[in-house]
Symmetry: C3
Subunit: 345 residues, 3 copies
């Protein structure tokens, strides 16, 4: 991260409601309260670190409104409504230098088939392949070594990072961001057992990714057997997740790394799936439901339920059972004692 901000530039970005103290430092980095040095910016994002503010060596500290305390010498407090959001705006500014806006156009090394339609403001980077009849919208960026299959469609303002594969006839709407190595439109895993062999069931549907979805590195999404595998608007999927054929994911869903979702599952809006959770085939996860890490779900889950464990069960029940499970040694001993008393009497 290559950073250089004056305090005036930072104030301009975060628009503090109140300032305390002053500093002459230029800001060249961002760090946590405990590890920041002079010349760096820090922030109080979580109240539980409140006590670390007094000792921080950062030159600029973003704090919540009403924070009680004074800066050290050569240190400035900037009080803002939401320090995390304020930091995000600073980082967003840094992001623009980290990922400079690419120039539009098709790199000479890219292989674009006749019949592909590429918008004038789009960027097709080095060594990309775009097959026939693919459509690429305005301000969309294929960074490098991206594959876009026959008749695939990409909307506006998308960003496909290096090594992404978008297979034939799959669709990305607008502002979709695919991290490196994402695969959209691999075949669904469907076979019929005939005469001692697994005969492939053709997978001829596609994948549709709605607006503002982001998908993590090396995650895979299979095309539907027929019809569509769907990821709804604003949903965010982490790295190394498997989305099987005919899955329907609603809006603003969060799916953490290494989750596996089997075929024909429905995940409703605002659900959250913890890392390494597994969802069995044909199940529905209700809106706003929360599935814990490593949880196995093979049943429908109600709206806003919190399910945990393998096999999964409601969180409170699971916690109670875990407590009793850990008391099994004591229980066996008590039963021994009671039995001895009973047999003696």
């Amino acid at each position: 991260m290559q950073v250089s901000f004056t305090v005036a530039e930072i104030s301009d970005i975060v628009q503090p409601k109140e300032t305390r103290g002053t500093t002459s430092e230029t800001i060249r980095g961002i760090a946590s309260l405990g590890s920041a040095e002079a010349g760096e910016l820090t922030f109080l994002g979580n109240p539980k670190y409140r006590s670390e503010v007094a000792g921080t060596r950062a030159s600029v500290v973003l704090l919540p409104l009403g924070f009680d305390g004074q800066p050290q010498s050569n240190q400035i407090f900037l009080l803002v409504e939401n320090p995390s959001a304020a930091l995000a705006r600073i980082c967003s500014r840094i992001e623009q230098s980290l990922w400079p806006r690419p120039a539009p156009g098709i790199h000479p090394s890219a292989q674009v088939a006749a019949g592909a339609k590429i918008a004038r403001s789009a960027t097709v980077g080095p060594l990309c392949v775009v097959e026939a009849d693919a459509v690429i919208g305005e301000h969309t960026h294929l960074q490098a070594q991206v594959f876009v299959g026959r008749a695939a469609e990409i909307g506006e303002g998308c960003w496909l990072m290096p090594g992404v594969t978008l297979a034939a006839e799959c669709i990305l709407k607008d502002r979709v961001r695919l991290q490196p190595g994402v695969i959209v439109g691999s075949d669904g895993f469907g076979y019929e057992f005939v005469g001692g062999r697994h005969e492939k069931i053709p997978q001829v549907g596609n994948v549709v990714i709605e607006n503002d979805v982001e998908i993590g590195a090396n995650t895979t999404l299979d095309r539907a057997r027929f019809s569509r595998t769907v990821v709804g608007e604003g949903s965010k999927i982490d790295n190394l997740v498997q989305i099987a054929h005919n899955v329907t994911i609603g809006k603003h869903v969060i799916i953490c790394a290494l989750v596996g979702i089997a075929g024909s599952v429905t995940i409703r809006d605002y659900a959250v799936l913890g890392g390494q959770a597994g969802i069995g085939g044909h199940v529905t996860i209700g809106p706003g439901a929360k599935i814990g890490g490593q949880t196995a779900v093979t049943f429908n889950v109600e709206s806003k339920a919190y399910i945990n464990g393998s096999p999964g069960m409601p969180y409170m029940i699971g916690q109670r059972l875990q407590v009793l499970y850990r008391r099994l040694p004591e229980l066996f001993k008590r039963v021994d004692e009671i039995e001895a008393m009973v047999r003696k009497s």
Copy 2:
């Protein structure tokens, strides 16, 4: 999916034993009984959806022989022995338009080293790399951005989708299909702990994939330490699976997504591994054994056994223990009561 079939064309594909009703619609899509619209085809693949047939709006309905019921107006029933198999034949026809047969030849942007042997009917797509002494058989298709390492061998009729890596000296037999991002022949994970450091054990074997194997997106298969890592004929492996060095997988095995198989494991013919299962090193899974999702197996499994849980155990035993586990609160309460009675007497 871009579809257009007349009813005559569909009848020609599925060869119905009996038809009921007629429709004037052209078929432009396929959907489930509940979601199909006029102009679409649907099917009864699972008897539990039988009651939905009466209400479907599909114009063409594939039904099992002996189905009891009559079509609505402008709707046709086609009765066939196996509606799922009939649908598969239709999808297979669609598949041919989804994935048109590529023209043979080497794309001018592909980088093919001197000494590579590429069959005349093979297709080497854009931006592929083929290293020296590699062999590529008749009708094999490297779609795009595929890597084939030194002295690797690929048989006939294989299909390597975008971004596949086949490392040096690894072997694919005939009709192997690798989904995007598959890696065949990464190094096995083997180290010797010497002087406080992990010293790499060279991994100089290869991977051999037998006929008719299909491997899912971003799955990885490590080369053997020496000798071979093997996937047997007709086995099907889903996305994001890890196959370690010196693993031997038999014929017609099914491995679901996110499974991890440690080094030197043997999986015998017709075994089935559920999603996110983990198989510990040097274990043998017997022929036809079934391993449930998220199951951990660190012991040999007998032929046709069904193992579940983490740690894994026979399914029936595990189910019984789960029932009792959920009754722990009641058991603790009963023991309290019994103890009170005993102490009182």
Copy 3:
């Protein structure tokens, strides 16, 4: 594996302290004691296979000093201090022919931006992309189709296999080996929930990989939110592992396949994480701690602790509870009997 060694060449590599017998065979392969044929070399790496030595058909057998036994006719025993290490030296020699040292230089099909600094002895293979201001050190090898982002830095003697992505500003030190499909520097998975939507928190830090690290196929490492995600010297990471943003991994750590490590976790030196383990956010794993396969850790783990299970607990406690768990049917029955006795009395 294409091998051809005379016994004299093998002796020259392994430097036996003692030899017994002779063979006229040339060695063309390596195999285990039980499966080796004439013309192959085998070894006794684990004393538990000692009884198989007498029956092996291998022409050359590597044995530990003091081994008690005589070769068959046309068979030679080579006695060495550590047969596994001796075999490793042979395999290392084979490795050199498996992976011949590439010629330095930039392949004409590689796309190297102006301003990238590539050392004279480095190799940039076919269809690689190197963005502006990237730095590539001496004897480093980008094999093929590798992506190196803007201002990324790679030290000396590294090897990036096909399809690796090293995103902007990320850093590899010396002798780092990345298996195919590794992604270094994808965005961390961080969102703020604002107004019913997940708003992206910019991820503007980087990833730093220290000397002698090896990372397995399709593993992903996210860049820090700000500051750095770090993998310490000599650590080895297997395939399909997820390392989230701001994770700090110490030196000589072992991480097996399909492990998921959530954000801001610290893993200290010499820790070992079994396959499919999951480490929850902000946790610290102490030095030398051992985490079993499929284990879930959501708490700090002490130095050298051994944790197992989901939820994780100390190994010995977990084993004891598992034994009692399997005795639940018996316990329920006993409680029934005791209750009957108590109620009768």
